[in-house]
């Protein structure tokens, strides 16, 4: 059973820093239909917003979904409520990186083959998204 606590520092901070209010979502799930990487997610994009509405911060911070989100902005482009879910996903990631787990991925995690092959853009964007 899901019990909504209604209190979450993550969500309060998110409203300010992302300019997005999850309460405005009416759960049409267009974001989930648009998202190209849902197959690898444990929570669908619209479910992430529902969890935000319910204040289920701890569950969100355990979810794999924010780390699968590639910030492609398709969800925001299709949202009839003009919400930017990519910004909310960034908030969940940053909450993890800043306060909880520390860096998710760093240069030491790269294989020698990756180091040789990956374009500079991939390395910089990967480190930026998975590091403090």
């Amino acid at each position: 059973m899901i019990i909504a606590t209604g209190k979450s520092s993550l969500i309060d901070e998110m409203k300010v820093q992302s300019g997005q209010n999850p309460a405005e979502c009416y759960q049409c799930a267009k974001c989930s239909a648009a998202c190209p990487v849902t197959a690898a997610m444990d929570l669908l994009p619209h479910q992430v917003i529902r969890y935000l509405q319910l204040g289920l911060e701890e569950d969100l911070l355990k979810s794999k979904t924010p780390w699968i989100c590639a910030s492609c902005f398709t969800c925001a482009a299709r949202c009839p409520r003009d919400l930017d879910l990519a910004r909310m996903m960034e908030g969940i990631r940053l909450s993890m990186l800043r306060r909880r787990e520390g860096n998710k991925f760093g240069p030491a995690d790269l294989t020698p083959e990756q180091l040789e092959k990956l374009p500079q853009q991939a390395l910089v964007s990967g480190f930026r998204k998975y590091n403090k």
């Binding site: 820093q17 992302s18 300019g19 190209p36 990487v37 197959a39 690898a40 780390w67 699968i68 590639a70 910030s71 492609c72 902005f73 398709t74 925001a76 482009a77 930017d84 990519a86 910004r87 960034e90 908030g91 940053l94 991925f105 790269l110 990756q114 040789e116 092959k117 990956l118 374009p119 500079q120 853009q121 991939a122 390395l123 910089v124 964007s125 990967g126 930026r128 998204k129 998975y130």
Partner: protein
């Protein structure tokens, strides 16, 4: 036509062929691209939380260095970051004061921030470009692959229709190619997930390649080095004829009859080995 030019890291490394061919085409078209002095990486991704000001220092320094002159990039990601950083500087006075005070620069959001494709479409005009096409790409079935960063968020990027863009198809038409429209042309390639979740990027890439192939394309064009990397390196072996991936500028230079042949998939791998 005079512009300041921001290359970005990858254009000096793995995507050198995009820079070389675009510079050759620009010179032949009378488009002067003057590289900024002492530029640094744009940061590759735009910070989506508005307190992430430190990530804005580099793009805002770049914007300020252009000193009000139009600023052109070739890489989709660089253009995306610069354009969105400019929009934030125009919209959020508090962020602007903090960033410009820290950098000790004057900048209040002025100047046009353009992708080279926009220069070709809006400033030069594809009509004018037609006159410069010496070796049209006749019979070449090419599809445009836009990806994410040029199109979205469309309110800020103002590049083209985010769901039904035409700029790259119009360019291909101008170059004399047989334009193939593929339904997955605005879908994400998986971006930096190829670093951490290669399987996810392989799925996105497979859909894009299959869709282009089914539409009859033999080649794709892109303006993003990471899209090209993923399309070339994350595709699964499926026994079918591989689709060639080019930077838009490679086909532009080729159709204009300029030196600097398109390298295609194999060429880019050679470059990697040399690095």
């Amino acid at each position: 036509m005079r512009y300041r030019y921001f290359p970005g890291c990858t254009l000096k490394g793995q995507a050198k062929s995009m820079e070389d061919t675009a510079m050759a085409a620009a010179a032949a078209l009378g488009i002067e691209l003057i590289e900024l002095d002492e530029w640094q990486c744009c940061g590759a991704v735009y910070p989506l939380y508005e307190d992430e000001l430190i990530s804005l220092l580099s793009p805002v320094r770049t914007l300020a260095a252009a000193a009000g002159e139009p600023l052109v990039s070739l890489c989709s990601a660089c253009h995306h970051v610069l354009k969105r950083a400019q929009e934030l500087m125009q919209r959020n006075q508090d962020a602007r004061h903090k960033v410009t005070d820290f950098l000790e620069v004057e900048y209040s959001g002025e100047g046009r921030v353009l992708h080279f494709l926009e220069v070709l479409r809006d400033d030069l005009g594809f009509d004018k470009l037609t006159e410069m096409i010496k070796k049209p790409l006749e019979g070449r079935k090419v599809a445009a692959y836009y990806g994410c960063l040029l199109l979205r968020p469309s309110k800020v990027m103002q590049f083209d229709d985010p769901e039904n863009p035409t700029i790259m198809e119009d360019l291909l038409k101008t170059l004399g190619a047989e334009v193939v429209k593929s339904p997955y042309r605005t879908e994400c390639c998986g971006a930096y997930l190829s670093v951490t979740e290669e399987g996810v990027a392989s799925d996105t890439v497979a859909r894009i390649i299959d869709s282009a192939r089914q539409a009859g394309a033999e080649a794709l064009i892109t303006a993003c080095p990471l899209c090209r990397y993923n399309l070339e390196n994350c595709s699964r072996e499926d026994g079918k004829e591989p689709i060639k991936v080019y930077y838009f500028s490679e086909l532009l230079a080729e159709a204009m009859g300029l030196p600097g042949e398109s390298t295609g998939a194999d060429g880019s791998k050679e470059e990697v080995a040399q690095r």
